[in-house]
Amino acid sequence: MAFARSRQALAIAGVLGLALGVTACGTGNDKKSSKAGSAECAAYEKYQGHDGKKVSIYSSIRDIEADRLNQSWKEFEDCTGIDIDHEGNAEFEAQLPVRVDGGNAPDLAFIPQPGLLKRFVDSGKLKPVGADTKAMAEQNYSPDWLKYSTVNGQLYGAPLGSNVKSFVWYSPKTFKEKGWTVPTTWDDMIKLSDQIAASGTKPWCAGIESGDATGWPATDWIEDVLLRTAGPEVYDQWTTHQIPFNDPKVVDAVNRAGSILKNEKYVNGGFGGVKSIATTAFQEGGTPITTGKCALHRQASFYANQWPQGTKVAEDGDVFAFYFPAIDPAKGKPVLGGGEFVGAFNDRPEVQAVQTYLASGEYANSRAKIGDWVSANKKLDLNNVPNPVDKLSVGILQDEKTVFRFDGSDLMPAAVGAGTFWKGMVAWINGKDTNSVLNGIEGSWK
């Protein structure tokens, strides 16, 4: 009986196969036509000679942002004949090591954590950049940036996009109505907070819930404050574990951040008490600003994409951002930020060509024109940056006075930077005291 049935299945499969086979003949793959000779392709001449080759890229960028990426290198693909196959995944940080260890590494990866990049260098999986890429990267990016992808004197990737985290979001409209002014020093900011609190509104709002990355916005807070209270040198010692995680200077910084984040008078506008910070999604953290239930929200430049539809993001609009003020202006203009680096797991010539192109000024401008993108690339023309907040960010990144530091939690070993530090901050918001939180994190750093 069973035999009869399987024979029947075989027959069905055969018929199906025939039908599909016949129709499949009609659809041949069009070969990508390279229009290498045309005028608009003149700029891509140095990347020529890889017609028909495929380069795979893996990143954490998805959906609309991924569409924009594909759009940004479309011309490059058309002119060089290189087919760039980009795949974005939310679990990027966890999946990339699986793929690499499993022998299925992508050609290129956009790695946002220098710590992760170093891991691949240490295990011998990441290839140093070629001479062309190195020249291009050194020409377009400051040494401040390149040092994050340099291991043992070798450069392992050029920076790509970046973001500025030292921003406080506010509503220019509300500020105008109430007669508040944008603070330029830390003390002014606290005075303003008190003034707003006295008027019956909780001035600050925050949200650190972010799925399995819950806690990261709070770590940014701490880093930004530490950069201001202790200065960039101490910050560097802290991120490289030359001073312990629970150094008194760090305790001070955390407590100062706590004077805002754990102050029931100040937070959490629009959401409730201090503890509601822990369960509020980071994407929603600043939205009460649009309804006037909160006035200030410290978050990176990319928060521009999180506002409800129809919110005008501009200096004279519904929302905008100001630079998170320095405590001691004499120590310069500390800026906390992040970004991704283009690392290569393969050194085939076409892979290096793409890597070089991504480090170029042409690419930076091509991508910036599409919108919602910031880079520290020196060739990036401010006129090509449509979004006002992005303009502000690029301005800060290109400013000579800026003392730029990379997001510390991305520099630390993942077990700390993406583990105990995040978790510790969640516990801290949830009521645990500063010392025991920091001691716990220090204990986990081996």
């Binding site: 009986m1 069973a2 035999f3 998805r62 959906d63 609309i64 942002e65 991924a66 569409d67 594909n70 196959d85 795949e87 974005g88 995944n89 939310a90 679990e91 999946q95 699986v98 793929r99 260890d101 499993g102 022998g103 299925n104 799925g211 999604a281 994407q283 929603e284 994409n305 999180q306």
Partner: protein, 319 residues
């Protein structure tokens, strides 16, 4: 097939409640029992129901008020579903992912079913040395977390097997839709321990004299397996089939690793996770997406439910 079933008493229990005693019992207690069980069933469904209502509400409403306010202030929109079902981007249409899900799921259910029933039969009805230990070994493998198997298995596919510098098995080198084969392979591996455990439970309960009679008649093992065992355990197969279907259909991790995230191979779950997560807490898409992904498993469950109940029944028929 069906004529063989009643003679061994397996699967015949479906007719049981129609005895007179059963009917009397039913009438006596039915009212309170019905009431209580319906109340519990309704309570059980409230969370899902709330999600369903939410999926029909506009974005702003979902984020500011509870779904129960829907009843005092009904605002219905199909926009969420529209967005989930028909939004297009470089990542392609939902229908494409739907087909991927089907192409992944069907073989991933069939292979473990066949292999596990063969193995379970051998472990239950063939005499060979150490069979209990083999069975216990397979049973214990259920605990291996599949996360720990990802890297070695991926390496098996992408670099083949090399022992002492000698390539024993080549790399698979699959592209695009061929990667489905990797997913089938992985899902089959991960499903086997539970499948063998469940099916062994059924097959070992089959009446021994039936097998003995067949052996005396000179039937070979493949013949007994085909003509006696398979028809008898069809319900059990359907039962495991549903579990495996639900598991594979809802899986995200295995598919992401072995098929990748592109629209050539990634299943529905990958696309829905993407829709829900990229731009913040898009609750409205999330709720609608959840219902889109539930539909198929629900249809499968409801249509196979009959088999399912009878299937699990068979295994426990004898004490």
């Amino acid at each position: 097939m069906t004529t063989a079933t009643p003679t061994v008493g397996v699967g015949a229990q479906a007719t049981e409640p129609v005895t007179r005693a059963g009917r009397v019992r039913k009438r006596l207690n039915s009212r309170t029992a019905t009431l209580v069980s319906i109340v519990i069933a309704v309570l059980w469904t409230i969370p899902t129901f709330g999600l369903f209502i939410s999926s029909l509400r506009p974005e702003n409403e979902i984020k500011t008020t509870g779904w129960w306010t829907f009843f005092s202030n009904p605002q219905v929109t199909l926009e969420n579903y529209q967005e989930v079902l028909f939004s297009t981007g470089s990542s392609g249409q939902l229908a494409s992912y739907f087909i991927n899900s089907l192409a992944i799921t069907i073989p991933s259910v069939l292979f473990p079913l066949a292999f596990a029933s063969l193995a379970a039969y051998a472990l239950a009805w063939m005499n060979f040395k150490g069979r209990d230990w083999v069975y216990i070994g397979i049973f214990a493998l259920q605990i291996v977390p599949l996360q720990m198997a990802l890297v070695p298995l991926l390496r098996f596919f992408s670099t083949g097997v090399t022992v002492a510098g000698v390539q024993i098995l080549p790399a698979w080198d699959l592209v695009d839709e061929q990667k489905f084969a990797q997913v089938w392979f992985a899902h089959t591996c991960f499903a086997l321990p539970f499948a063998v455990f469940l099916l062994h439970n059924f097959i070992s309960q089959l009446p021994g004299d039936l097998m003995e009679a067949a052996r005396v008649d000179g039937a070979t093992h493949p013949k007994i397996f085909r003509t006696i065992v398979l028809p008898l355990i069809t319900p059990a197969l359907a039962a495991f089939g549903i579990f495996q279907f639900l598991w594979v259909w809802n899986d995200l991790l295995v598919a992401l690793i072995f098929a990748g995230g592109g629209n050539e191979t990634a299943p529905l779950t990958v696309r829905l996770a993407e829709l829900a997560g990229t731009r913040g807490n898009e609750w409205q898409r999330l709720t609608a997406g959840a219902f889109v992904s539930i539909v198929v498993p629900l249809i499968v469950f409801l249509s196979l439910q009959r088999f399912f109940v009878r299937g699990l029944l068979a295994g426990s028929v004898k004490g």
